[in-house]
């Protein structure tokens, strides 16, 4: 059973006489533990796809399955609960709380949910150690480098053990070296720790770290690339495919 799948997913915005089809009968899937990147020219529907899968928006037609369960059968309240339990969002900026240390920041989603503080700290510590921040647990954000803060923020997105990690342009603000590191970390989250990762990106270097890339254009799925091995030439291959799609 895939972690995510869509069936004929369609989203139309606006009134019938001025309707814009953002997503046009898209059927796709992401396997458990797979890292998939969605690419395509501006306005191709990639963020709409991410938002529908993330339960942030309702499709006009078609269905979204998360771990096999159909989101369209759920009311808004239930979708919110599914989203909170199963989906972690990775943002571009860290937005850590300055008064909390790394451990407390990473544990925050669990603390807010009323999880036992010792359990919350233990889980947060586990992710921070995986991200080589085991010796920084007591440091506040102003005592951490930008890259370290970003890793704390990703730990925060993972601490509630979501099965699916979503990111919309996760590296928009970073220089290319830091971007590569974040992309490599997202790849490890899937390859080493078995989490499913789905991202939207315009950056071939980021997408090149994925297992598979879906190309969207005008709301339709138009191409797919499977990257068998992590090769330094992948970014060029991806960029070339992007050009052919018209991005």
């Amino acid at each position: 059973m895939p972690a995510v799948s869509t069936e004929q997913l369609t989203k139309i915005y606006g009134e019938p006489n001025a309707a814009v089809t953002a997503l046009d009968h898209v059927s796709m899937h992401v396997d458990v533990g797979e890292f998939v990147a969605v690419m395509g020219p501006s306005g191709c529907g990639k963020s709409t796809l991410l938002h529908l899968i993330g339960g942030l928006d309702r499709p006009t037609e078609g269905r979204v399955f998360l771990n096999g369960s159909d989101l369209s059968g759920l009311d808004d309240e239930a979708i919110s609960a599914v989203r909170r339990r199963n989906i972690g969002f990775v943002f571009q900026f860290y937005n850590l709380l300055p008064v909390l240390n790394a451990l407390e920041n990473a544990a925050l989603p669990l603390s807010l949910d009323g999880v036992d503080p010792a359990v919350a700290r233990q889980k947060a510590g586990q992710w921070l150690e995986r991200f080589d921040l085991g010796n920084r647990l007591g440091h506040r954000p102003d005592q951490l480098s930008g890259g370290q803060q970003q890793r704390v923020a990703i730990a925060r997105a993972l601490v509630a053990e979501p099965s699916l990690i979503l990111a919309d342009e996760p590296t928009g603000n970073l220089d290319s070296l830091a971007s590569d590191q974040i992309a490599a970390l997202l790849a490890r989250i899937s390859s080493e720790w078995g989490r499913t990762v789905l991202i939207v990106t315009h950056d071939p270097r980021i997408a090149a770290q994925a297992d598979r890339i879906l190309f969207l254009k005008d709301g339709k799925l138009v191409d797919e690339a499977v990257l068998e091995s992590k090769d330094s030439r992948n970014a060029e291959i991806v960029a070339d495919r992007m050009r052919r799609v018209g991005g």
Partner: protein, 201 residues
Amino acid sequence: MSVRNALLGLLEQRPRHGYELRAAFEALIGGEANWNVRPAQVYATLERLTEAGLIRPRSVTKQGGPEKRIYAPTKAGRKHLRAWLAAETEREPQRDEFFIKLMIALATGGAQPRKLIRDQRTALYRRLHSVTTRRQAIDPRTSLAHVLLLDQAVMHLEADLHWLEMIEARLDVVRRQSIPEPQPKRRGRPPRNEPSNGKEN
């Protein structure tokens, strides 16, 4: 803030007529998508700045062209501009419209608070994507200032999304507490036998 001081500053950079001034503001802010100032607003502001004695118009005619009014700051205008630049830039994030909406929804039952949170989240994610897309279209090698402006917008939108998560997680606690009401104030003079707030006369 109003656009008043921005327009005054752009006139200090170079005297301009109304149309040029609007174009200069648009270029400064990185386009209409960031901040759309209508021509009527520019002309109304020029009028008010003139009335306040902060700028002065001068009529020029270019070889047979129509007469144009070029504006430049007065001495008072330049003083006003320096004072504005030197003053603290205020931000009031606690004046939050969504917070008020949520509290009114809780107080009146006029809307489902969780639905408000969900709809707001969806709207914020959409705006986040649109700002990110616009930022990516800008070349930081030539327009870093606009990249930084949009970075600020992204940071704020993402912070708002984190904040919504916090509210959603704790909404039931907020709901159980009563809606904040004013503390009843005692009217009239305090009784004689009570100390008057510890103040010595």
